[in-house]
């Protein structure tokens, strides 16, 4: 049984069509990397899947565990197991990180008909996850992402993922803005969360992240759809040769689709 099945997805942002018939199937436990030039629609995919306002689906379906994902509110998608690690995590002054995370976890549990965690049980859970993520508990006492460095923000995303334990994690350019040490730390956190029941969509512009998070499949997203799929060697080829070679195989793609320019 597949976990995620995207079929012929078309989506618009501000009236402009960005996704133009994207199809993708992800099975439990698989790690799929989505690569592609700038403006290909990589971030749009993550935003559409997590239900962000302003992203209008005009055609196609997304099934998550047999459920129509597109019919759900963002918070319901989270509760059924979709997690988006943001490219730019938002700073929320005045909202304590721990309070926020407990509110999120309990809201999800409530939605699923599970009992809510009291603060004792929650803290115990958080301590376990902190150990895995190697994050200092000092971050917990601060406001959500406020004053966090770029690396701290990304690690906080992965830490949230560890606590919320989603079925599908979408990492939206999690490597952007990270130096190599921070990148390794984030990747280690992700790897610790890999399991036969959990799938990942790793959206990235660079192959570098895939040295540390080894994908089962690599897809090239260009011109709003998946134009090439393969294993991790595809990522290496893209790293070595860029995207231009795809034009020979896919004549319908415009040069701009592959050059990474905003068309």
């Amino acid at each position: 049984m597949h976990m995620l099945k995207i079929d012929n997805l078309h989506a618009r942002v501000e009236g402009k069509e960005i996704l133009k018939g994207l199809s993708l199937t992800v099975n439990p436990g698989e790690v799929h990397a989505i690569m592609g030039p700038n403006g290909a629609g990589k971030s749009t995919l993550g935003n559409v899947l997590s239900g962000r306002e302003g992203y209008e689906v005009t055609e196609g379906t997304v099934s998550f565990g047999g459920q129509d994902l597109l019919a759900l509110e963002p918070e319901e998608r989270a509760a059924v197991g979709v997690f988006l690690a943001f490219q730019y995590p938002v700073e929320i002054p005045g909202v304590n990180n721990t309070y926020f995370l407990r509110a999120a976890l309990n809201a999800q549990r409530k939605f699923r008909g599970e009992d809510e965690l009291d603060s004792m049980r929650f803290l115990k859970l958080v301590r376990e996850k902190l150990k895995i993520m190697q994050i200092s508990d000092e971050l917990l006492h601060r406001a959500v992402n406020e004053g966090f460095s770029g690396g701290e923000k990304k690690r906080n995303e992965i830490f949230q993922m560890a606590v919320l334990e989603p079925k599908l994690a979408i990492l939206d350019e999690t490597d952007s803005g990270l130096d190599i040490d921070a990148l390794k730390q984030v990747a280690e956190g992700v790897n610790a969360l890999r399991s036969p029941a959990r799938s990942f969509l790793v959206v990235t512009h660079y192959q570098r992240l895939l040295d540390y998070i080894e994908p089962d499949f690599v897809h090239v997203l260009a011109g709003g759809r998946i134009v090439e799929s393969g294993d991790k060697n595809l990522a290496l080829k893209l790293e070595a040769e860029g995207y231009a070679w795809l034009a020979d195989k896919h004549p319908h793609l415009r040069k701009a689709d592959l050059a990474g320019e905003a068309a």
């Binding site: 997590s50 239900g51 962000r52 306002e53 509110e73 963002p74 918070e75 998608r77 989270a78 509760a79 997690f83 988006l84 943001f86 995590p89 938002v90 929320i92 002054p93 005045g94 909202v95 926020f100 995370l101 509110a103 999120a104 976890l105 809201a107 999800q108 939605f111 406001a143 959500v144 949230q160 919320l164």
Partner: protein
């Protein structure tokens, strides 16, 4: 005045005729003068700049009698109405402006004199002369100050002796009985914090019933050299209550005052808070939040006058307006000639939670000195969509996410309140008032 007096003014003049003379010549004269000044100008109208955003047409048509003192003295007011965590010092409770010994506890510790104004006047009027014979500018902008001076027969006298450190916070409670429809009450508060002394005071406004009433309070706070005043204001009156309040703070050299205000209730509320920073190195900080819903109207007028060297003030105010409510904030920093070294800042941020709510904010800076650091800013906005989505993407439902962000927005103004139990209580009151429940409809 060319037109005939309004029902409000006529009723006030009738009410004054029933107020007995004190026999203290200067006080009776002052009352008379204030009544004349009020009768002459009537209530401020729309073209009055200071009242531009707070129309009083509806109020001017109401004929309000004075609240009946005997009824106020017998009104049933449960203690739970004004019980506050972390506030366990002396307490003076007034119901419709009438002192209630049965609800009060005037023993506030050594070095503190806490007494009803009427009692203090009967004992020794002369020390109160300066404050009570004070002349306001003649003009409609000060109409309620005149009215209060003419009609307030009771209130609070609180004196903290030099160098006394009052450990427990004192509480001044103004209960509107809500049991005397179409009446008004008036109270006068006089606080003096002696040299080097320190005290925390909570000014608390509540209603015990739902009848439509007006209350006016004029409060003077004199903070002597090197003294420290912490003032927390909690206004949680019924949605039928009109409150017109004026606070006047005077700070001598090296004095400090910090005001935290949480405004939740009332139908029409005006709060004028003016500080005269007259002593070198004195400091006046204010923090305030209002949360409005329904058809509430709240008008905050803050003025800080820096009149000495090396003084400082910092004002941080937040407002949220839901439903068809209207919030008004005017914050003025005035730095007088020669007040060099002044460091003043003012920030007012507001959130509109509904398309029908309105907030008008007006920061003002008037600087007549040379070496001054002054900053001010005001914004009106909506909840940040990116933050909302971030919270929702983690599973927090929209309604809860809105309430969480709104609370976070307000919290900045309350978090510096040192009394932790009180701070948490105010936070809880605020949460309960946030529009989560209305948005869930």
């Amino acid at each position: 005045m060319t037109s005939a007096p309004s029902p409000f003014v006529r009723a006030a003049l009738d009410a004054a005729a029933g107020v007995p003379a004190t026999g203290i010549a200067w006080l009776d004269a002052a009352r008379r003068e204030n009544l004349e000044a009020f009768a002459e100008t009537g209530l401020p109208e729309g073209r009055n700049e200071a009242w531009k955003y707070t129309p009083l047409r509806a109020l001017s048509q109401r004929a309000l009698a004075l609240a009946d003192a005997a009824m106020a003295a017998g009104a049933d007011v449960p203690g739970a109405l004004f019980a506050l965590p972390g506030v366990d010092g002396g307490r003076a409770v007034f119901v419709d402006g009438v002192f209630r010994a049965d609800l009060s506890s005037l023993d506030a510790g050594t070095g503190v004199e806490l007494a009803p104004l009427a009692v203090a006047l009967a004992a020794q009027p002369e020390p109160l002369r300066f404050a009570l014979a004070n002349r306001y500018r003649r003009g409609a902008a000060d109409a309620f100050a005149h009215l209060n001076a003419a009609l307030a027969t009771d209130g609070v006298v609180l004196r903290v002796a030099d160098n006394a450190k009052v450990a427990k916070p004192l509480q001044i409670v103004h209960v509107t009985s809500g049991a005397q429809a179409d009446t008004a009450w008036h109270a006068r508060v006089l606080v003096e914090v002696g040299k080097g002394a320190s005290v925390d005071i909570v000014e608390h406004f509540v209603s015990a019933g739902a009848a439509t009433q007006l209350g006016t309070v004029v409060a003077d706070y004199t903070v002597r050299e090197g003294a420290t005043l912490g003032l927390a204001i909690l206004q949680d009156a019924s949605p039928a209550t009109t409150l017109i309040r004026r606070g006047q703070v005077r700070l001598d050299a090296d004095a400090q005052a910090t005001v935290h205000a949480l405004e939740l209730g009332g139908a029409l509320v005006r709060h004028e808070l003016t500080a005269e920073v007259v002593g070198d190195r004195a400091r006046f900080d204010t923090r305030g939040v209002f949360a409005l819903a329904g058809r509430q109207h709240l008008d905050t007028q803050l003025e800080v006058h820096h009149k000495a060297r090396d003084t400082a003030s910092d004002a941080l105010w937040r407002g949220i307006a839901d439903g068809r409510s209207r919030g008004v904030f005017r914050g003025a920093i005035v730095v007088a000639e020669g007040a060099d070294g002044t460091d003043a800042s003012l920030s007012n941020k507001n959130l509109l939670l509904s398309g029908s709510a309105e907030i008008d904010t007006k920061p003002e800076l008037e600087i007549y000195a040379d070496e001054v650091k002054a900053a001010h800013g005001a914004t009106i906005g909506q909840l940040d969509e990116r933050s909302l989505f971030y919270l929702r993407s983690r599973g927090i439902p929209l309604v809860e996410a809105r309430s969480l962000l709104t609370l976070a927005f307000c919290r900045a103004a309350l978090e510096s309140l040192p009394n932790e139990a009180l701070r948490e209580h105010l936070g809880d009151l605020l949460v309960a008032r946030l529009p989560a429940s209305t948005a869930a409809e």
